[in-house]
């Protein structure tokens, strides 16, 4: 199962759940994996061939580049270092914004989850901001922080913060009260209970929120860069548009998709490796 099953239905990550495998002998699993790889490779060949054919059949192949043209653009951009620079710039923004936003989201979520007064007072804002797309803040952020890196990272912080905060609230309020009481009876202070009981119990929820936030970060970075930046994958898309260099646009899209996919897989891998001890209790399945 590669699913982070957040128990809260509405906050769940959209991931493809495979049917829970019945008990199976390893050799069978191996055969299945081989079959799946074969299917993917086979379909990839068919797809690429169809794409090339479609591009040649299109009236203006220049406007609908085939895989060969895209591969050429990919090689060119790799060779002159544009691709590495662009990807690096985008990834840096994503990671900085995502980490800051997630940490802030956890803190905000824990505070709001712990205090009825705070959560009551913040409720209208949390609901409201959830529905304001990050790009709408582009103007104010630009006025306040200028056109530099800060603005773009802040937009990503914004997309990450609310998803993580909402999930943290969810997790910390669903914590079995007995656990917290027991820690209190054993002499744990409020801070100790927060750090050793509430936070660990909320981890599965936080992780589910963070995974959504990571996806959001990938979406936001592109549009933020398209509206103004010196380097980045969004800039590559934009330059491709202004100079009608469509293969470059496709290259940027390809790299974006692959980078997003790789980051998501790495996130799940990290959660599976380091998050095992938070699994269990309830029925929460961490990835």
């Amino acid at each position: 199962m590669s699913t982070i099953a957040s128990p809260e239905e509405d906050l769940r990550t959209p991931v493809v759940a495979r049917p829970r495998p019945a008990v199976r002998v390893p050799s069978d699993a191996l055969a299945r994996a081989a079959r799946r790889t074969g299917l993917t490779l086979g379909s990839l060949v068919v797809l690429v061939a169809a794409w090339e054919w479609g591009s040649r059949a299109y009236d203006v192949p220049f406007l609908f580049p085939g895989p060969l043209a895209v591969a050429e653009s990919l090689a060119d951009n790799l060779a002159d270092g544009t691709l590495a620079a662009s990807t690096g710039a985008s990834l840096w923004r994503i990671v900085a914004g995502f980490v800051l936003g997630s940490v802030a989201g956890v803190v905000v979520g824990l505070v709001l989850g712990a205090s009825r007064v705070a959560s009551g007072m913040a409720a209208p804002f949390v609901t409201f901001f959830r529905f304001v797309p990050p790009l709408a803040w582009f103007g104010p952020v630009l006025v306040w922080f200028g056109a530099g890196e800060t603005s773009k990272v802040l937009l990503i912080v914004y997309t990450s913060l609310f998803v993580v905060a909402l999930n943290t609230i969810e997790g910390s309020t669903k914590l079995p009260q007995d656990l917290s009481r027991m820690a209190g009876v054993a002499g744990a202070s409020w801070w100790q209970r927060m750090f050793w009981v509430t936070l660990p119990a909320s981890v599965p929820y936080i992780v589910a929120g963070a995974r959504v936030a990571l996806g959001n970060a990938f979406m936001t970075v592109v549009s933020a860069e398209m509206l103004g930046a010196s380097a980045g994958l969004g800039v590559m898309v934009n330059n491709g548009m202004t100079s009608t260099n469509v293969p470059d646009v496709f290259t940027a899209i390809l790299v974006l998709g692959v980078a997003g996919l790789v980051c998501d897989r790495l996130f799940v891998l990290a959660v599976n490796t380091f998050g095992r001890r938070f699994r269990g209790q309830q029925t929460v399945d961490v990835a």
Binding site: L227, L233, G234
Partner: protein, 266 residues
């Protein structure tokens, strides 16, 4: 201590929550007003009162009201088309294991690409204008719905399928009576996500190629340094998004109530 305990009121009631919420809004608005007065530069931070004035203008002025309606129309059209497309796609893919295994990698790839990145190919193929904006909105809505539909079909209880086979239910009957009811809650989760993503996509598209719409208004306000209007646009976006979400949840619980029997329809 005892005095504090006696003064403690029950904060879990609905009335208390509304009161606290209002209190929060008042406190923040007052703080905002104070900071704005201290800053003394409405171009950097307009006071809430200025924003309210701009907001009233935005909603009453026929020109900007058209912008609001344009955005709403684009979201509705793109979201409905994208959701239906995603549902059909997901049902088609999810019903056949081979197709699912075949297309899963591509779906996961396409889902990661920001919808807004497609604005460029869209404008090249469809021109600068309405179809390109709609394309991006549809793209934003298709994948959450498709992927959640596939999950919903995959998550069907195997025992139910066996039972259906045992009592001799036809494939069509199995689809309609077992698979659909099992998938509906998943589809709805996807559609709700898709609705939020549609709002994000439409704002981006309107900012980049739009000639009308709230995204365009906000972008335009920036060019003219009309910060109050920028904030008014943000406020309207938040409120409209929230109302749409409420509407969605309301429709979901009234139209699809029967599929939520025995579970908590959040």
């Amino acid at each position: 201590m005892s005095a504090v305990a006696a003064a403690r009121v029950d904060l879990s009631g609905r009335g208390a929550r509304v009161g606290l919420g209002l209190l929060g809004v008042v406190v923040v608005a007052a703080a905002w007003q104070a900071v704005a007065a201290a800053t003394g530069n409405p171009l950097v931070l307009p006071a809430p009162t200025d924003v309210v004035t701009a907001l009233v203008q935005l909603v009453t002025d026929p020109q900007t009201r058209t912008d609001l309606l344009d955005t709403v129309r684009r979201v509705v059209a793109g979201f409905v088309a994208g959701s239906v497309g995603g549902l059909l796609l997901g049902a088609g893919i999810g019903s056949f294991r081979v197709v699912r295994e075949l297309l899963n990698p591509y779906l996961n790839f396409l889902r990661t690409v920001a919808p807004i990145a497609w604005i460029v190919p869209a404008t090249i193929w469809l021109g600068v204008g309405e179809p390109s904006i709609l394309f991006v909105v549809v793209y934003a809505a298709v994948f959450p719905v498709a992927i959640n539909t596939i999950s919903g079909i995959a998550a069907v209880d195997a025992d139910k399928l066996r039972m259906a086979r045992a009592v001799g239910l036809s494939p069509v009957g199995t689809f309609a009576r077992i698979l659909v009811p099992s998938a509906v809650p998943f589809v709805m989760v996807g559609a709700r996500l898709g609705l939020g993503l549609s709002f994000m996509a439409v704002v981006g598209a309107e900012m980049i190629i739009g000639q009308s719409g709230l995204g365009y208004v906000i972008y335009d306000a920036r060019t003219f340094s009309n910060t109050a209007l920028m904030f008014a646009g943000i406020l309207v976006l938040g409120v409209v998004g929230y109302l749409f979400d409420l509407l969605f949840v309301g429709l979901r619980s009234s139209l699809f109530r029967k599929y939520y029997a025995g579970r908590e329809a959040a």
